[in-house]
Assembly symmetry: C2
Homo-oligomer: 237 residues x 2
């Protein structure tokens, strides 16, 4: 977890105890704001075991704290996606590995990963990068026949993100991330119908996803790796 101060190379490095304080504040903020997004800075300070003025010393405003949380969480996310080797490992192996890694990260940074990233911020760039690599991984899988040839990659990415988000809700959120990852990948690829006997379609035009892929970088919505959402400023959803 990089501290915000080390994100600014021009800034003098913090003393070790200040580094620890920053990390403690970010982790406490994640816990407190996950439980109640409207919690006050005072409540975050109490959870971190520091004075409110100490938070203000390190983060000028409440928004600055949120931005730092988002940046730190997305940096963590990028790292665990890297570990899954999406460009080089066999696609399904990479997919499973990345899914498990992302689930672990999201467990710890659920709130921070759902924060809307400020445009141009490291978090926003990181989100875009992760989404791009996800699309590329799905593209490789499709090229290898692991996804239906007509798969809309953008829809696939959104479904994948939604399943990851959902895997962390409910009573089984404490389940091993590898088990959850298996479930997510299996549901993503095979759905709920019995294997090898697809049900007759409801309509004659049997396309899994017919809509054209949306243009450009307009990704949004609830990514398993975090994501911006159109409810501006809000943490929920």
């Amino acid at each position: 977890m990089t501290s915000p101060s080390s994100a600014d190379p021009a800034a003098r490095p913090l003393r070790a105890d200040a580094e620890r304080s920053v990390r403690t504040i970010l982790e406490a903020a994640e816990r407190v704001l996950s439980a109640n997004p409207a919690a006050s800075m005072e409540q975050v300070a109490e959870a971190a075991g520091v004075a409110r003025t100490t938070i203000h010393r390190r983060f000028a405003t409440r928004q600055a704290l949120m931005d730092a949380m988002a940046d730190a969480a997305v940096a963590q996310l990028r790292a665990v996606v890297d570990e899954g080797r999406p460009e080089t490992a066999p696609p399904l192996v990479a997919l499973h590995e990345i899914t498990a890694n992302v689930l672990r990260t999201k467990i710890s940074w659920r709130f921070a990963l759902d924060l809307p990233a400020a445009p141009g911020s490291p978090a926003a760039q990181g989100q875009r990068d992760v989404a791009r690599r996800c699309l590329e991984l799905f593209g490789r899988a499709r090229d290898l026949g692991l996804l239906a040839a007509r798969t809309d990659l953008e829809w696939a990415r959104r479904v994948y993100y939604a399943l990851i988000g959902e895997a962390l809700h409910g009573d089984d959120a404490g389940t091993d991330p590898d088990v959850l990852a298996g479930r997510v990948v299996d549901t993503l690829l095979h759905g709920l119908a019995p294997a090898a006997e697809p049900a007759p379609p409801l309509n004659r035009c049997r396309r899994s996803v017919a809509a054209p892929a949306p243009a450009g970088e307009g990704w949004e919505g609830r990514e398993p790796w975090g994501g911006c959402l159109d409810r501006d400023g809000s943490a929920d959803a």
Copy 2:
């Protein structure tokens, strides 16, 4: 849309203009709070074209307004689920119909349907009822061989809710609800892999969903029909 006053049979019925005001306030609140969950009562009043005191005349507190929104939206949801005849129509027909209906409703009441329902409120009861009927519909589908025999119905319900939620995000949110419903149902049943040629599993135990069904009524998370969330009081966009 029933007004909150008519939900209280002991209360005298409102005059017609007051009924219109209440409806206008609820609809304006949905629009304004969807865009910004932290919007003030003043902003809701402006959007509704009434004075803030008029809102306070009909809803004692901000929370009372939210509760009324949730109750009204869930009543609407129950109605559109009824229209899909989940108990009597063939399961896939019912599923498609209900999905399209729910998408239409959720388009108009997205914020209200995501509000946490107060325990014991009509909204909470309605949510439970809808979830129960969803599980029953999936049970019927499984009994007819339309879902894999080992399907975890609770996971299926959560996946279904997640897909409905996701269908409303992204650039294609303006797409016809029937098209979106087709997409949701198809993805739910068949996933993204090519039809009739399931990919070899990553692990030898090839179960689509192995975890036992969670107990009782502990449903939570993001239902397509709305749902409580563990972020208390937050609407988080």
